[in-house]
C-alpha cells in the first residue's frame, strides 16, 4: 500500500462534492476540499465540537451552519456523519459534506440577523429523520423556502455515501488504522515543509486597510519550512468580523496556493502553519458578531496580506491578482432575488447571462474583461422596479503594495443618474431602482510591477 493511498481514496470518494472532508473520529482531517478554500480547515472544529456533545452511530447525521463552530456563510450547511466506529487499532471515520442552499446577501449587525443559524443538530438517527427538529427549523422566520425538502434530499445523498463506504470498507481491504493515518499525516507535513523550503525563507510585513475602517497588520515569518503569521496590531472589528477558523483557513489557503500544496489539505499540511491573532481583533470574532462581511471582505484581506508578504520574502516577480470581489443581490416586487458575485481574479464558471435574463427582469449591456489589465466591467439595466443590495471590497483604498508594485484601482459600483452621469456608490449598501436604471461595476485585478 502506498503512503498516498488515503489521499487518492478520499479524493475519489469525495469527487462529486465541492466542499467536503474525511476525518478520523479523533478529529484529524485526512482529506478536505472546498470551493471557497478557506473553509477546509474548519471541518476539524465541527467534528470536535459536535462529537464532544452529541453521540452519533455510523450512518446517523447532524447538520450545522454555525460560522463559529467551523462553519462558513450561513447559507452553507455542513452535514456530518460517522462512517465507522472506533474498533481496536481503527479510530473510525467521519464524513463531512458542505452544501449551499438559497444563498443571499444578508448583512446584519448580529449573526442571528443574517439568517437561520443551526448549531450542531442531529437530523437523522435510528434510521429516521427527526421531523420535529426539521420542522422547527423550517418554522424559523429566516429559514429559506424549500429548506425542508432540500435537507431531506441531502440526507438521502449522505445515506448513499454510507452505503458506498460500507461496501468499500468491506471489499477494498483498506488499512484504516491510527498508525496508517499518523504515517500519512507525517508524510503530508514533511511534503509541505519541503515545498516551503524550496523557496526563500525570511520575514516580511504587510498591511491592508478595509472599507469598514479596520486595519489588518501582518508580520509573516517563513523559517525552516514552517510559517508563522502574526496579526498583532490588527484592529477590532467595525463592520468586518472573521471567525477564528476562517482566518486560519484564509492564511492556509494563501500558503497552499503560493507553494502549490493545493491537492493536499489535511491536518498534516495544516500543521506547518501557526496563526497568532490578538484577542479582540477583527480576525478573532466571537458570537454573536455577524460574519457575512467578514467571510467575504475579511477573508479577502487576509489572503491579500498573506500573498503580499510571501511575495516579499521570495522576491516574486510573478503577476499578482487582487482578491477583491463584489456581491450584488437584486430583489423584485414578486419576491424574486438575483444574487451574483463578481471578481476580476476568479471566473464566473456557472453564470449564464441568458438564464439570468430569462429568469429576472434585467438585461446585460456588457460584460467585458481585459485580460491584460484584468479589468472586469459589468453593466446591466433593470427592467422592473427593484431593490439592490451590494457588498464590495476595497472601494476606498487598495492594499498597501510593497515597493515596486502598484496596486490596481479601487472597485467602483456606479449607477447611471437621470442626467446621464455615473454616480459612484458606497462599498456597501442598498437602494431602490426604477425600471430602466443602468448599474455598472468596475473591478481591476492586476497589480502592476
Amino acid at each position: 500500500m502506498l503512503s498516498s493511498w488515503i489521499f487518492e481514496f478520499s479524493d475519489l470518494f469525495l469527487k462529486n462534492e465541492r466542499s467536503a472532508a474525511l476525518l478520523s473520529r479523533d478529529g484529524e482531517i485526512l482529506h478536505a476540499k472546498s470551493d471557497l478554500g478557506f473553509e477546509a480547515t474548519g471541518f476539524k472544529n465541527i467534528a470536535e465540537s459536535c462529537l464532544n456533545y452529541i453521540t452519533l452511530k455510523p450512518g446517523e447525521i447532524l447538520v450545522t451552519n454555525d460560522s463559529y463552530s467551523g462553519g462558513s456563510f450561513l447559507h452553507r450547511y455542513t452535514f456530518l456523519m460517522p462512517l465507522s466506529n472506533a474498533v481496536g487499532t481503527q479510530p473510525g471515520i467521519l464524513l463531512c459534506v458542505r452544501r449551499e442552499f438559497a444563498a443571499g446577501l444578508n448583512i446584519s449587525g448580529k449573526l442571528d440577523g443574517e439568517g437561520l443559524r443551526i448549531p450542531p443538530t442531529p437530523v437523522f438517527q435510528n434510521g429516521q429523520l427527526i421531523m420535529p427538529i426539521i420542522e422547527a427549523m423550517s418554522m424559523h422566520p429566516l429559514c429559506p423556502q424549500g429548506f425542508q425538502a432540500w435537507l431531506q434530499s441531502t440526507v438521502g445523498d449522505m445515506a448513499a455515501y454510507f452505503k458506498k463506504w460500507s461496501h468499500a470498507e468491506k471489499h477494498c481491504k483498506l488499512p484504516l488504522t491510527a498508525s496508517e493515518f499518523k504515517k500519512f499525516l507525517t508524510f503530508s507535513r514533511n511534503y509541505a515543509t519541503e515545498k516551503i523550503l524550496e523557496k526563500a525563507q525570511g520575514e516580511a510585513r504587510s498591511e491592508v486597510v478595509l472599507d469598514g475602517g479596520e486595519v489588518l497588520k501582518l508580520h509573516l515569518e517563513v523559517n525552516n519550512g514552517l510559517i508563522k503569521a502574526d496579526f498583532s496590531g490588527t484592529t477590532a472589528g467595525v463592520k468586518t468580523f472573521v471567525p477564528d477558523l476562517a482566518a486560519f483557513g484564509a492564511c492556509y489557503e494563501a500558503v497552499a496556493q503560493f507553494y502549490e500544496l493545493n491537492c493536499l489539505r489535511n491536518s498534516g499540511t495544516f500543521s506547518v502553519m501557526q496563526v497568532i491573532k490578538p484577542l479582540g481583533c477583527f480576525l478573532n470574532a466571537k458570537y454573536p458578531a455577524s460574519t457575512h462581511q467578514g467571510l467575504q471582505t475579511g477573508v479577502a484581506a487576509v489572503r491579500t496580506a498573506m500573498v503580499l508578504a510571501l511575495r516579499q520574502i521570495v522576491r516574486s516577480t510573478q503577476p499578482l491578482l487582487s482578491e477583491n470581489m463584489a456581491v450584488m443581490e437584486v430583489s423584485f416586487a414578486d419576491g424574486q432575488r438575483w444574487l451574483s458575485s463578481w471578481s476580476a481574479k476568479r471566473c464566473c464558471e456557472s453564470v449564464s447571462l441568458e438564464k439570468i435574463e430569462s429568469e429576472f427582469p434585467v438585461q446585460f449591456v456588457r460584460v467585458e474583461k481585459s485580460a491584460e489589465k484584468m479589468h472586469l466591467q459589468v453593466e446591466f439595466k433593470t427592467l422592473a422596479a427593484c431593490q439592490v443590495r451590494w457588498l464590495s471590497d476595497f472601494t476606498k483604498q487598495t492594499p498597501k503594495a510593497p515597493k515596486g508594485l502598484n496596486a490596481p484601482e479601487t472597485t467602483q459600483l456606479e449607477v447611471l443618474a437621470e442626467n446621464g452621469e455615473w454616480t459612484r456608490l458606497d462599498s456597501q449598501g442598498n437602494t431602490d431602482l426604477a425600471p430602466g436604471t443602468n448599474l455598472r461595476l468596475n473591478l481591476w485585478g492586476l497589480y502592476s510591477q
Binding site: H171, S352, E354, E357
Partner: protein, 456 residues
Amino acid sequence: MALAETDVNLALYIGESFVEARLCHNQEVVHFGRWYLGKEGFKAGLQRFFQEAKVQKIDKAYVASRFVEKILSYRLGGSVATVTTKGFESWAEFRQPQTLKVGPLSSTELIFSVEERCNAAGSIEKELADSEISELVKKLRQKQAKRVCIHFLNAGKNPHNQDKLKAALVQESFEVFAPAVDTVNCDEVSQWRKNILNASLSGTFEEVQDELNEGLNGILPDGERALFFGSDGELFDKENHQRLGSLWGAAAAWSRALQKRIKGEFDILYLGLEQFNLITPLKEMQNWNSPWGMIRAPQIQNALLSLQPTTSIEIGPWGELTYSGNVLGYEPGPMFMGRGQVPTLIDLWEEKTASLKGIGERRSPQGVQKFKNQLLALNNASTQKVDSEEKLFSHLREVALHKLTVDIVLMTENPKVVCLGALAPLFLPELKKRLPQLEFELTPETETSLLLNQGH
C-alpha cells in the same frame, strides 16, 4: 472468399492510436485485425486488412471513433473565428475554469463583435445592419478565417440576426457554425463551447473521414460512405454538429447492443488497450466536463478509471514509486514497444500482451530490458526501496490492482458487471478474486463486434 456482397459489413473502432477492424458476414466473423496508427494510417491499414481478408466488396461500414480526443489534445483551433454580440466578446473566456491548464477555445485576435441584440423574450432590439456585416467580412478576410462561429445572445429564442449573418457569410464562402437550438439548455456558453469545438474539429475530422473513405473506395457500393456513431448511438456522416458527440459513440453503441442480450441493469467495465472506463448503460449524463468548462452533451454515463493502461510510473511526491496522474498514450507508447522512455502500467503486464494483435508484434526485447532497468533505477532512487526485481514488479502490480478494485467498488452502480476490451481477459481473473460480491461476465463480443449488433 465468395460472399454475397450485400451481407458483409465492416466495423471499425478507432482509438487515439489503434484501429480495430472486423468484417462480418451474417454475424459470423470473416476477418479481424488491429493496427497501430503510428505505423500505418487509416487508408493503408484498411487496404492491407481487406487484402488479408480477401474481400473485395462490403455493404456497410460503421465507425466508432475516439480519434477526436487526440485532436482535442493538440490539433485544436486552426482558423476558426468567433462573432459575438458587441459587449460580450470576452464572456466565453471569462467563464473558462482557471484551474484547468488549457488555452481559451478562441484566439483573441479571431474574436469579432457586431451591434445586434435580441432580448430574453425573443424580440429583436437591435437589427444587425448590412454595414456591420460588410465590415466584418473585411476583417475575417484580413485574418484569413475560413470557419466562423456565430455566438449571439438569445439567438436560440429568435435566430433572426444569426440567420442573417449566417446567410451573408455562407454567400461569402465561409464555413459557418451556429449553435444547435437547444431548448433544455439555457446556458449560452455551454452551447458556444460545443459549437466552437465542432468547428475546430471540422477540418481534421473531415480529413479522417476522407482518408477512411478513400481506403474503402471501390469496396463500399458507389455513393456509400463510412457512418460514424454519435453520442446517442445513431449514425452520422457529414452532420458537423455531431462530431464532438462521436467521442461517446462507442459507449452508446456497446450499451445498446448489450442491452439487447442482457436482461436487467448492469455496468460495463471497458478494459481496452487505450482506455479503462466504467459505463452505466441505463443512466444518461447531460454534461461533459470538458477542459474548457461544462458542455451540455447528453451521453451514456461513463467515467474513466483513475488508472489507465498507459498511466506512467514515477517517483511520487512522497518519494515512493507510484502511478502518476499522467496518461502517456501510445505515442511513443509503453517502453516494451521500443520507443517509450517512461515506464507505464501496461509495461508491467507486457508478457501477457504477446498474443494481442497490433501489440504483440510490436514488442521489443530491448524495450522490455530498458523498462526493467529504468524501473530498477527508479526503485533505487525512491525512499521506500523494494529489495528484488520480482518483489518490485509484484508490488506495483498489486498497487495497480488495488487501485482498480477501489475504483470499481466506488463507481459501479449494479452488482452485474459486463467486461469487454482487449485487456479484459488479462485483468478480469484478478478482479473477480478481489470482488467476489460482483457478478462479472466477460463478453465474448469485442468492441467492434458489438458495433455490428445494432440492428441497423
